[in-house]
Structures are given as C-alpha cells and as structure tokens.
C-alpha cells in the first residue's frame, strides 16, 4: 500500500516535471539587463519594473503567437566589464531578446556581442548617440538621445536662466562627457559665456577645490553631465562653501537619492527628463497597476522600458515568429502604440521623435515642470 502510494507520487511528480518542461520550452525569453546592484541601481529598478509589468500585461492578454514571455534579470552593475560578461551569458543561455543595458558605456560594448550573435536589443535608458551610430541592425532604443537632450538644456539655460558665467562639469564617462559637450556647444552657439569645462573622477568625495575654483571664476550656473552620487555631493559642498549658483543636470541625476544626499541643497536643481508619461490620462490604468504593486511609475525609464518590451512583442506578433532578423526589419516599418506615445523607428534604430522636458527638482524628491 505504502509502496504504491510512493510510486504514484513519483509518477505524479514526473508528469508535473514534464508539464513544466513543456511550458518552459514554449516561453519566449527576454533578458532584462541592467544594474541591479552598484551605485546607480535605482535606474536599474526603474527599467526592471517597467519591463516586468509589460511582460505581465502581455501574458495576461494571451502572450505572443500563443507563447508566454519570460523575463530573466541579468545584473551588469553599470560596469562595462561586467556588461560584456552578461552579454556573453545571454548568448550562452540562448536568449534572443534583450531589454537593456542602462549605462551607455555598458550598452556599447554589449551591443557588439548582440549584433554579432543576431540578438535583438532595445535599450530604454542609454542616451549616448554612439549606441546607434555604428550602423548596427539589431540595436534599438525607446528613449531620446543626448544630442537632443543637450540642446534642450542649453536652450533653456540661454533663453530662460540667462546666466553670466557658466561652468560645465562632467564625470569623464561616455554619457556624462557626451551630454556635457552637447550642452557646451549649444551654449557657445548662443553666445553664453562658458568659463569652465572640466572633468571629475566618478567615485570622488571631495570637490572643495573645484568649488573654490568656480567661486573664483564667478560662476553663477553649473551644468553637470553624469550621475547623481557625484552631483549630490557637489550640491551639498557648494551650499556649505557658499557658492551661489544654479545647477542643472541630465536624466542621470533625476532620482530621489539626490535629495537624500544633498538635502535642502537639491531644491531648485534643474533636470532634463523624458516627459512624465505617468501623468498622461491614457496611462491611468497602467499607472494604477504599478501602484497596486507599490511600485513607482514616475521614474524616467519605467515606461520607456515598458515600451521596449511591447515593441518587441508587437513585432514578433507581426512576423509570426521569433526570427530576430525578420523582426528588426519589421520594426523599422511599423508604428507602435505604446504608453510612451506612438513610436516609429528610423534606419539607425532611434525613435523618430522624442522630447525632453526641463523640470524643477525639489528637496522632498518630487519634481514640477519648469516654465
């Protein structure tokens, strides 16, 4: 009696195993690559919750071509060396679709691997022009470029703030220096006096020498290209040292942690960010779905990541398969209706249009549109 019972249990578990193996074989795997750990893991969170929500919604609606999507998280820690390791792991795991990476200097080396291996990659966060400038076929993005963001910032500074002496500081990384250069050339084109253009080392803690230098140069406006840990410290130390200047940064500084680091000094910081897609009435249901999970849909990369998954899924449905080459050709011709608007890709894999908006950042970690 006991023996048969045991046998029956084994039999049942074998059947169950077979069943899971069967459903497993049918899922379409999507790699979600970005920083889960490391100093900019906040942005990785934004990308992951957006992409996971998209996968969940698509699966609820019956999946793609009868198969379910499955998201697998890969952590690159925003470290370029690790990004290549992750890319190779994705190749070995037989995954054909990637949402990511996040930091531009990670996306670029990783995309070399994806292009060679015919893996379709859509980044929702890398804004460096270099990402799509190499004639690759498999590389797309659902966010704008620094070459658009820079001029938006530069024009706002020149037309609205009208400062006398501007300092442009960057972190010497692909993303930070790229956007800082774009801002500087816009400002100089408009005749604004850029008195300083300097790089700092990311990870540094002491910016007192730099701040004294800005005080001496009578700087009244500082543009910083880079991420929030360094700008947070620069803001904090500037207010301690009594540097009276207005600060501005790109979307890489726009998250709540800058207020945690800089405290009151983050009040009035200007940030260029993608528009608040979560405030669009059309996205109400989606925003509620995020809130039901206690997730914050207002992060800059949440809905672009949602769109990244959706465009891949739509293109898979259109081509009735998972052949990445057919999909990338289809993606260039289709128009996608996504939470971030109607998206169309150009020949390079960039969006036809994407606007950046200037926001005023507040000490409590919220933002309002700057007029």
């Amino acid at each position: 009696m006991k023996k048969t019972n045991k046998l029956a249990r084994i039999g049942a578990s074998v059947i169950l195993l077979g069943a899971t193996a069967l459903t497993h074989a049918e899922t379409i795997k999507i790699a979600l690559a970005g920083p889960v750990t490391g100093p900019v893991a906040q942005y990785g969170d934004m990308q992951m919750i957006g992409a996971k929500m998209a996968i969940e919604k698509i699966n609820e609606a019956g999946g793609v071509n009868g198969s379910m999507l499955e998201g697998i998280v890969y952590d690159d820690a925003c470290d370029a060396k690790q990004a290549v390791v992750v890319a190779n792991k994705i190749v070995n795991d037989g995954v054909k679709f990637v949402v990511g990476h996040l930091c531009s200097d990670n996306t670029i080396p990783a995309s070399d691997v994806y292009e060679d291996e015919q893996i379709l990659m859509v980044t929702a966060a890398s804004t460096s022009p270099e990402v799509t400038a190499r004639g690759y076929e498999m590389i797309f993005r659902t966010i704008g470029l620094d070459s658009h963001q820079g001029p938006v910032a530069g024009n706002y500074i020149a037309d609205t703030v009208k400062p006398k002496n501007v300092a442009v500081i960057h972190d010497k990384k692909q993303y930070g220096e790229g956007i800082a250069t774009a801002v500087k050339s816009t400002l100089e084109g408009k005749g604004v006096n850029v008195v300083m253009f300097e790089g700092i080392t990311s990870g540094d803690k002491d910016f007192s020498s730099l701040i004294a230098k800005m005080q001496k140069a009578k700087v009244d406006f500082v543009y910083y290209g880079g991420y929030h840990p360094e700008l947070g410290l620069i803001l904090r130390q500037s207010s301690e040292k009594g540097l009276k200047a207005k600060f501005m940064g790109p979307e890489g500084v726009g998250n709540k942690d800058i207020s945690a680091i800089a405290g009151e000094a983050s009040e009035g910081l200007l940030v260029t960010l993608p528009p608040s897609f979560d405030a669009e009435p059309a996205n109400k249901a989606l925003v509620d779905a995020f809130k039901a999970k206690k997730q914050d849909p207002s992060g800059a990369f949440v809905l672009p990541a949602y769109s990244a998954v959706q465009v891949m899924a739509d293109a898979m449905a259109k081509t009735r398969g998972t052949d990445t080459n057919a999909i990338q050709i289809a993606m260039r011709t289709m128009t996608f209706n996504t939470p971030t608007g109607q998206l169309k890709f150009d020949a390079k894999g960039d969006l036809h249009e994407f606007s950046f908006v200037v926001y005023n950042w507040h000490a409590d970690g919220t933002k309002t549109e700057a007029k």
Partner: protein
C-alpha cells in the same frame, strides 16, 4: 591680487583637509606594515565599516530622541571603534594568523580575499545605494575680501586636529609604553622577540586592533564630513591612503602623515590651478618620481627602525 592670495589659502586649506583624511587612514596601513611587514589590504574595508556603523549609531541615537550633537558623535565614535576593532581582530585571526610563516604573498592574497568578502557582506546587509545623513556639524569661518572669500568649516578643523592628535598619541605609545616597546621588538625581529618572552601573537593582534580603531575614527569623521557612504568607498580611500603611506615611507607614522598631506596638497593645487581631470595623473606621477629618487619614501629608513 589679494583675491589670488585668498584663493591660494583656500586651496591650501582644502588640500590640508583632504591630506589629513588620507593620513588618518594611512596610519593604520603603515603601522601594520611596520610591525609584521605586510600590507593589510582589508584596511579600507574597515574604514568603510566604521562609516556604516557610525551612520547606524547616529540614526539610532537620533531616533531615541538624543539631540545633543557632541553626545551623538561621541557615542557613535565609541560604537564604531568597538565594532571596527573586533573586525580588525577577527581579520587577523582568520586571514593572517593561520598563514604566519607562509610565503609573504599568501597572506597578501588572503587579505585581498577578506577585503572582497567584507565589501560584499556590507552590500548584502545594507544594499548598494548611497546612504546619506544630514550635516550634524555645520558652519565655519569665512575670511577675505568680498570678491573671494576663503572658508574653513568646523568639520575641516576637527579632521585636521584629530589626525594630529592620533599621530602624536600613537608615536608616544610606540616610543614610551611597555607594549610599544614590545611592538618595536616584534618589528625588529619577531623570532627573537618570541624567544625573549614577548607574546608576539598578542602584539600583532593589538596592532590590528589599533589600526582598525584608527580606521573607525576616520570612518566616523569622513562620514560626518561628506555625509554619504556606500559599500565601495573603502576601495578608493584605501588606495589613496596606501599611496600616502608609500609616499611618506611605509612603516613610518610621521611619514604617513607627511605622505597624506603631500598627496592632498598636490591634488588640491592641481585641481585648483590646473584641472580636476589631471589631479590623479599628477599625484601618481609624483609618487613615481619620489620613489625613483627615494625608494623608501620621504621618511622611510629601511633596516634601521621600522616604526
């Protein structure tokens, strides 16, 4: 003209502060080297742990309703020193003592392993995000003409004074106390010291504990000064402090102080008069130059007395 002068003073003060922070961590490195002739690569992580422990202590005390700042800082200091010292003691027991007598490279590698372990331990326990505390000690002095005012904050002065006090206390301890004499004996010849009845294991443990306590002081002070911490701060801080120790002559306590100040001033003046981009290039070139002409560092005296 007067503006230039005050700008110079400002950069001098900035350099002295940065230099003191390097020196404070460098003293721990140099002391362990002086006594057992090995680099404790986990020292930077002890500093990081010191910062974390003091942040947790400060947060805990303010939650309990303690508002008197000197009391908060003092309690945080004591807690940080106790916790960090036990880490220092444990590192010596697990990563060094079992390997005593082995080839010199082996404890070095086990120390690097220890450093990776500690970093990841804090990552898992505390997360990788930047932890921030609001400024506890703010304010300072401002002086100079209206066109350029140099400033010195209370925090900068505290850091500078603490570093000096630590250096003097340690030098006194090594040269005057009984235990200090034992330390010097161990530094000179560990086998002979053992034969003469000195408990060398205890001396070495003590060295690690003192080094860790100094790192905890640095962790608290720099934590208060910058207001942020993440699990990776130990690496850069350790690297800079190690450079300072080598520059000043590793094994020499005043040398660590001098090396730290030289490094800090070089960085500050390069950033102030040239460009922040090149400050690491200039300071490390200086290190190479000094080592070319004085291989033992500025104050290092090999084979005479290591500490």
């Amino acid at each position: 003209m007067i503006e230039e002068l005050f700008y110079f003073i400002q950069q001098l003060l900035n350099g002295l502060t940065i230099g003191s922070t390097y020196a404070l961590i460098a003293i721990g490195y140099t002391m362990v080297y002086g006594i057992i002739g090995m680099i404790n690569f986990a020292h930077g992580e002890i500093y990081m742990i010191g910062t974390y422990v003091s942040f947790v202590a400060i947060a805990g005390l303010s939650m309990l309703g303690v508002e008197y700042v000197p009391l908060i800082v003092l309690c945080a200091l004591v807690i940080a020193i106790i916790v960090s010292s036990s880490f220092g003691w444990a590192i010596e027991r697990t990563a060094y003592r079992p390997l005593r007598g082995a080839n010199r490279l082996i404890p070095l590698i086990s120390a690097i392993g220890m450093s990776i372990f500690l970093q990841n331990y804090v990552v898992l326990a505390q997360g990788t995000r930047d932890l921030a505390i609001p400024p506890l000690i703010s304010g300072g002095w401002k002086f100079g003409p209206d066109s350029f005012q140099a400033s010195l904050s209370y925090m900068q002065l505290i850091i500078f004074i603490t570093t000096f006090v630590c250096m003097f206390a340690l030098t006194l301890f090594i040269s005057k106390s009984r235990m200090g004499r034992a330390c010097r004996a161990v530094a000179e010849d560990i086998k002979m010291a053992n034969l003469l009845g000195i408990n060398t294991n205890r001396v070495i443990s003590l060295t690690f504990v003192i080094g860790a306590a100094l790192a905890a002081v640095a962790g608290l002070l720099l934590g208060l000064y910058y207001g942020v911490a993440n699990p990776h701060i130990g690496f850069i801080a350790g690297l800079k402090a190690f450079t300072a120790a080598v520059l000043g002559g590793i094994g020499s306590i005043p040398g660590a102080m001098l090396g730290g100040l030289v490094l800090g001033l070089t960085e500050s003046f390069t950033a102030g008069y040239f460009s922040s981009e090149y400050k690491d290039v200039v300071s490390f070139s200086l290190l190479v130059l000094i080592l070319l002409f004085r291989p033992t560092g500025l104050l290092g005296k090999p084979d005479v007395e290591k500490i």
